[in-house]
């Protein structure tokens, strides 16, 4: 699956980022969220882009210990195998993988099918790709 943002509806409040870090890391920290709302100010106002897992699988290919796998829907990490080397963090083109407070890779998994960010978005601007199509 993938996340889709309706940029027309998004107000840039970042509640999705806060909800994500709260759920998965137990803290508030947009830099520890598996999605980012990037705002660019332009001549005509504001341009908004979503950064989230696109399932490019670069992290899966890069992980030296094969701790990250793709189950056909989302990424899965084997915490027992992860060494916290950070290669996946560096290779993620969206910047939505990071090391958690234990120094282990935190991998986006769309909350296993029911993304918390979608549930929390007050503008109903986030969707699952399958729900748009």
């Amino acid at each position: 699956m993938k996340l889709i943002l309706d940029a027309e509806k998004c107000t840039g409040c970042k509640i999705c980022e806060l909800a994500c870090s709260a759920k998965h890391q137990g803290v508030f920290n947009p830099k520890k969220a598996h999605l980012r709302i990037n705002d660019n100010y332009t001549e005509t106002g504001r341009e908004t882009r979503l950064k989230s897992c696109t399932l490019c699988l670069k992290c899966v290919e890069t992980c030296p210990v094969e701790a990250i796998t793709f189950n056909g829907k989302w990424l899965v990490i084997d915490d027992g195998l992860c060494t916290g080397c950070g290669d996946c963090v560096d290779v993620c083109p969206e910047g939505v993988i990071f090391l958690n407070s234990e120094g282990m890779a935190a991998i986006p998994n769309f909350c296993e099918g029911n993304p918390f960010c979608i549930e929390w978005c007050p503008q109903e601007a986030l969707y699952k790709e399958e729900d748009v199509a």
């Binding site: 840039g12 509640i15 005509t44």
Partner: protein, 585 residues
């Protein structure tokens, strides 16, 4: 709990950068934002400091709710002594700077001294650097912000001043995210006097609360059942331009320098007109509402215009051309000028000119001249040299004090007190002068069910509003979530992990209000300063519900006396020792 317990203190005279502990005892009494910032300023400044001297301080304060998912908790308080009024100045700015400061690891930033050459401050977690701003000085806020984003990344948040702040205009503002401002009282010129062009901040640290599942449950319920309900949704649907219709139809919409309260062109600048043109909305950090409207007309873009801008630079200048207001607004945002004060200055100058009292070369509705004014004022060029002094000083030199619409040197916002008598008391007693952010009783009177033309019960109405806002802006929450004290207590108790009752919050609100007053008493302000422009007492309004009305002077005086009595202040408006003892101050 969500405090970081750390202050960042930067002295621009010596170049020192220090990290020191936050005073825990003070947070228990003043929480954060307006209250805690005022406490630090009161204790550190002493009386009689010249506002534009190196001795004045600029205090940027977050609150216990900042950085959390509590809705509408994105605001930053900026506290200083005002060059416009000589008394306390408490500003609030939206956007996401407050959250970034907290994520960088600080509850508060105190800027002292004065740099020799223009500088900006770069904060990236523990790394704090004072850098040369030679390449930024002289630039507008838009370009400054864009260049700092190029240098520090898009996720860094910028606070900056424009030429108006650099040139020490007494109504220069601080801008952030291009179109948001700490607007009033010349806060931008305090920054300019320190030769501090900008502050750029990015943070990556956690904000921690004691019981995350409980907070998420509380907030989820609050967003659904409270924030996103009819009481607040106007802020999302129309934003503050919604108030144009409310003000105009109740006859309190300042028109042609408060000569009238109904503007014939109001329909052209109301929320409906704006909604048709806006490409999208914008929210501050952690705000579920999102009140910002982008407007793009001709070659000007602005997030706005907000109600106050539509009132003061629109109706009050006799301008009903929305495109012109958008351009004027964008220029003010870029140059770093407070639109409320400039709208008043121009309205005053227009009336002076039309009455033949002094020719400032500008008349009501003269859009072409009007559009030149932000630039002339920011650079003190041509007629801008005089106009940049503000309404109070202009009246001192050229007369017209009766219709110089200011209190204590701060120009009035967009609600005519002749059609909302409690609003008159709120203006007269607001800590920073003519201001609508201390209490907003116009909502109960002109826009609500209370009779606007009686003083009965109004002193208490204003007092309750002042305490409510004092604590709300100290936690910090935005004005536009009209939450109950009970909900406020639930949120803050959960975030702090200890029970903070409604009574404790109300008492803190009163304590903060008394502290602001103590600051002003120390500066020599007395009961005689708690007054309104003579026009409010003498010139009847012309149209609508309040047609023929003034706020009678004797009624105002009675209301003010009752206000002092209820507050436990002496007849000169100073808190009594008994009151201070009761408030544990």
């Amino acid at each position: 709990m969500s405090y970081r317990w750390k202050i960042l203190r930067v002295n621009l005279s010596t170049g020192s950068v220090a990290k020191e502990p936050l005073n825990k005892g003070w947070t228990e009494k003043y929480f954060g934002g307006r209250g805690l910032g005022a406490k630090y300023l009161y204790e550190e400044l002493g009386g009689g400091v010249e506002p534009l001297s190196p001795e004045n301080k600029l205090i940027l304060v977050t609150g216990p709710l900042t950085g959390t998912i509590v809705p509408c908790s994105g605001k930053l308080a900026i506290i200083s002594k005002s060059p416009a009024t000589g008394i306390i100045l408490d500003c609030a700015i939206g956007g996401s700077f407050a959250a970034q400061l907290k994520f960088a690891g600080y509850d508060m930033l105190i800027v002292e001294g004065q740099a020799e050459k223009p500088v900006y401050l770069a904060i990236n977690d523990d790394d704090v650097e004072i850098r040369s701003a030679a390449h930024l000085w002289g630039k507008g806020i838009f370009e400054t912000e864009s260049r700092l984003h190029d240098e520090h990344g898009m996720e860094a948040v910028v606070l900056s001043i424009g030429p108006a702040g650099e040139n020490l205009i007494p109504f220069a503002c601080i801008g952030s995210e291009y179109y948001r401002q700490a607007g009033r009282g010349g806060i931008g010129s305090v920054m300019g006097s320190k030769r501090l062009k900008a502050i750029v901040c990015s943070g990556s640290k956690d904000v921690i609360v004691p019981d995350m599942p409980r907070l998420l449950e509380l907030v989820r319920k609050a967003i659904r059942e409270d924030v996103l309900t009819d009481t607040n949704l106007w802020a999302h649907i129309g934003g503050t331009p919604t108030i144009v219709e409310m003000s105009n139809s109740s006859g309190v919409f300042p028109t042609r320098n408060y000569q009238d309260g109904v503007f014939e062109g109001a329909q052209k600048i109301n929320a409906d007109s704006i909604r048709k043109l806006r490409p999208h909305k914008k929210a501050c950090f952690a705000c579920a509402l999102g009140c910002g409207n982008y407007l793009c007309i001709a070659d000007s873009t602005v997030e706005g215009p907000e109600y106050e801008t539509l009132a003061l630079t629109g109706a009050n200048c006799g301008v009903d051309d929305l495109g012109a207001i958008v351009r004027f607004n964008a220029d003010c945002d870029d140059l770093g000028i407070d639109t409320i004060s400039l709208g008043n200055v121009l309205g005053f100058a227009m009336e002076m000119t039309e009455k033949g009292m002094r020719d400032f070369g500008i008349r009501f509705g003269d859009v072409e001249t009007y559009l030149k004014m932000p630039r002339l004022v920011a650079y003190r060029a041509g007629v801008g040299k005089e106009l940049s002094r503000g309404v109070k000083q202009l009246a001192k030199t050229y007369g017209g004090a009766e219709f110089a619409m200011q209190v204590k040197g701060l120009e009035l916002p967009g609600y005519d007190p002749r059609g909302s008598w409690a609003m008159g008391l709120a203006y007269a007693t607001a800590a920073r002068g003519g201001c609508h952010m201390s209490a907003w009783p116009v909502a109960d009177e002109a826009f609500g069910k209370l009779d606007p033309f009686t003083i009965e019960g109004k002193a208490q109405l204003v007092i309750t509003g002042q305490h409510y806002n004092a604590i709300k802006f100290s936690l910090i929450l935005c004005d536009f979530w009209a939450l109950s004290m009970g909900t406020m207590s639930e949120m803050v108790s959960c975030v702090l992990g200890r029970e903070i009752s409604v009574a404790e919050l109300a008492k803190a609100g009163e304590r903060i209000w008394n502290l602001l007053r103590l600051f002003n008493v120390r500066e020599g302000f007395k009961a005689a300063d708690d007054t309104l422009p003579a026009r409010v007492f003498k010139d009847p309004l012309k149209s609508g519900t309040p047609a023929g009305r003034v706020l009678p002077r004797d009624q105002f005086d009675s209301m003010l006396r009752e206000y002092y009595q209820l507050r436990g202040w002496d007849s000169n408006g100073a808190p009594t020792p008994e009151k201070l003892k009761e408030l544990e101050m």
